[in-house]
Symmetry: C2
């Protein structure tokens, strides 16, 4: 900070400085997050103990916010959370009654969901060193994350992601958001969770469609970052479709690791720059979701978005045709869609490019693959090019 | 980041790391923020040019949000903002029509004010690299800051504080907030503004009461940090009451500098720890504001809170009696109150201690002076001690 030795009245005075902050990001992949083995605390209790280690014995509270899809499929989850904390010892936070909120995009679309979470935090007199435990898919993690980031200017957030997509992608992130007036993530914040626990066993009750949708993010990051991961996905796609846990786990973990590495090492965790190197395939995906009234899952829309951008990259000669074809076939091998009829409404779709630009701010740029495992920052495609790519994708 | 060389399935996997972010904090004290002198750009245009220097020629938008008290007192302000940007050259953002919002605590109490700002940002298609220019008192800066921190997960904020309190205290901060259900700052975020321009000339139209209220923060920081500043306040109190600009400017700048120094160098700008070393006198101040239905200004409530905590510190023998007396007399010399009848409702007042604890989280601690210019982190006083201090203050 540059402060002049004396403050001279009447002259201009500059007081410039840099605000530096750092946050621990704790991610654990486990099986049985609430299970104590051989008398050791459960992974959940251990993660909470670490996250609250500097509280000097203060005992806070914990509000569980559960995705309705999860609460229905796994009724034992809520009591297991309370049991895990009880078994964790006297320093564990007091568990408040769980709040169940609608799963899926409705959680982010309906302002009443955010208000209900804020009401529950207020009713539970949750303080800044207490915890919101969010268990669910990406949408529930997003709205609960926004509530936790803004209540008292930020209470602690522990994420228990319970969809493939949440485990391999959304829960690694340091952001949250809700939709406003139909615009995706128009409100949100950057905030680092206190702990993220990815428990493969929580995926067991997912319907196949939800289970598979999350693998589009694995294809995405393989294409732009890790050729070996695409090899592995191609090799294990059939096993993953058959719900082979070991095959799925390897890919989910590797995908999560690559996302996390980008956030920690990419140099711009709070996205102040214009580049969004991980958003390959996402400009059209967000738009397709709203165009279809969210009947398509985020992961499915991403699969279609990847197929479209791979085709565009090939038409622009950024990417060889064989690689573009390989990407599309990998998505299909995982049982993921590479086409939606909404693609035909090109004018509507193209509005997604402008929405994307507005959200990022500044001049738009898109991450585009140059070969399998590498990408570049590219200007957005012309409307004409998008049209040609859609025509080609329709025939492929 | 510790990532194991291979991802072993079936075993627990820890992916821990640290998220590091830094933000430039640009504060300028000027006279004539919108005035171009000798062909040089105005301080506003210069600050915006610096804040947007890394945008590579992208031209964003700027939404002015004006405090109604200010807009009424200084009708020339809105056109002067547009003129300053026009004179700033082609790289300046496009100025959107200004939004005028109610000044004072209503801005933070009424959820419709926040919604109106978000609507204006949406209507103006403000992107993340565009700017919300907030001109007004602390309450308007707070609600506009919260809108800017959450819209698109954060658009740029330029603050033009127009009350003494906003210039010497609120605008230096890296936080914002709105009230919810009558609870002060129940929602908010930490966010560093892109620029802060403190223009002494904007204070000229303030009523005396508003003008003087901001000096309680100067007394506060003098007591806990800077004995020389208290000497200066005592020497110049009469001149400040007479609206001597040079006397006021020196104290405002020094107070702002000390606040800013704490944020930049205090080691905890986003307040993750429990200590709040700058909040001397504030636990009761916040409560007194809501107990009086905000008929008392924040700065006035802080003056009363300082008088109360100084008395408590003397009763606890943390602070010598002569120093406690000196603090109270300095407040009175500035024309600030050191008593409110609401202090008689001790039970209600004491609820403020618990609110303060909940907001900070963890075990409560208060900044208490040990001598003029120094403070310590102390446990909260007992109800009995608060009662005794109030009785003593009533007689003093």
């Amino acid at each position: 900070m540059r402060i002049p030795p004396t403050i001279a009245s009447a002259n201009d005075l500059r007081l410039d400085g840099t605000v530096r902050v750092s946050f621990a990001h704790r991610v654990r992949f486990v099986r049985g997050a609430m299970r104590s083995v051989d008398g050791r605390p459960s992974p959940l209790a251990a993660a909470i103990a670490e996250a609250t280690a500097d509280d000097g014995g203060f005992r806070g509270r914990l509000l569980p916010v559960l995705d309705s899809n999860l609460a229905r499929a796994q009724p034992a989850l809520e009591p297991s959370i309370a049991d895990a904390l009880r078994a964790g010892g006297a320093a564990m936070p007091e568990v408040l009654p769980a709040l169940v909120v609608p799963g899926g995009e409705r959680a982010k679309n309906d302002p009443a969901v955010l208000e209900a979470i804020l009401d529950a935090l207020d009713r539970g007199r949750v303080c800044r060193r207490s915890i919101l435990l969010a268990a669910g898919g990406g949408a529930v993690l997003d709205v609960a994350g926004f509530a936790s980031a803004t209540f008292h200017r930020g209470v602690r957030l522990v994420r228990l992601p319970t969809t493939t997509l949440a485990q391999d992608d959304a829960a690694m992130g340091v952001k949250n958001g809700v939709n406003r007036g139909g615009k995706k993530n128009l409100l949100g914040a950057f905030a680092v969770p206190s702990a993220v626990l990815c428990d493969l066993e929580l995926l067991r009750t997912l319907p196949d469609r939800e289970f598979l949708a999350g693998f589009s993010e694995a294809v995405k990051i393989a294409v732009i970052r890790d050729a070996a991961l695409l090899d592995r996905i191609e090799r294990d796609a059939a096993a993953i479709r058959a719900r082979d846990e070991a095959a799925a786990e390897w890919v989910i973990r590797r995908c999560a690791e690559l996302h996390l590495r980008h956030i920690l090492e990419g140099g711009d965790p709070f996205e102040t720059g214009t580049a969004r190197p991980l958003d390959f395939g996402h400009w059209s995906a967000h738009r397709l979701e709203s165009m279809t009234g969210h009947r398509v899952l985020h992961g499915e829309a991403v699969a279609v978005g990847i197929a479209l951008d791979a085709t565009i990259a090939a038409l622009e000669s950024r990417l060889d045709r064989a690689s573009a074809r390989r990407i599309i076939l990998a998505l299909r091998a995982l049982g993921l869609p590479t086409w939606l009829d909404a693609l035909r409404e090109v004018t509507d779709l193209l509005a997604g490019l402008e929405e994307f630009r507005e959200h990022l701010g500044g001049a738009a740029s898109l991450a585009m693959p140059t070969r399998i495992g590498a990408s570049t920052d590219a200007p957005p495609p012309s409307a004409e090019l998008v049209r040609r790519a859609i025509d080609e994708l329709a025939r492929s």
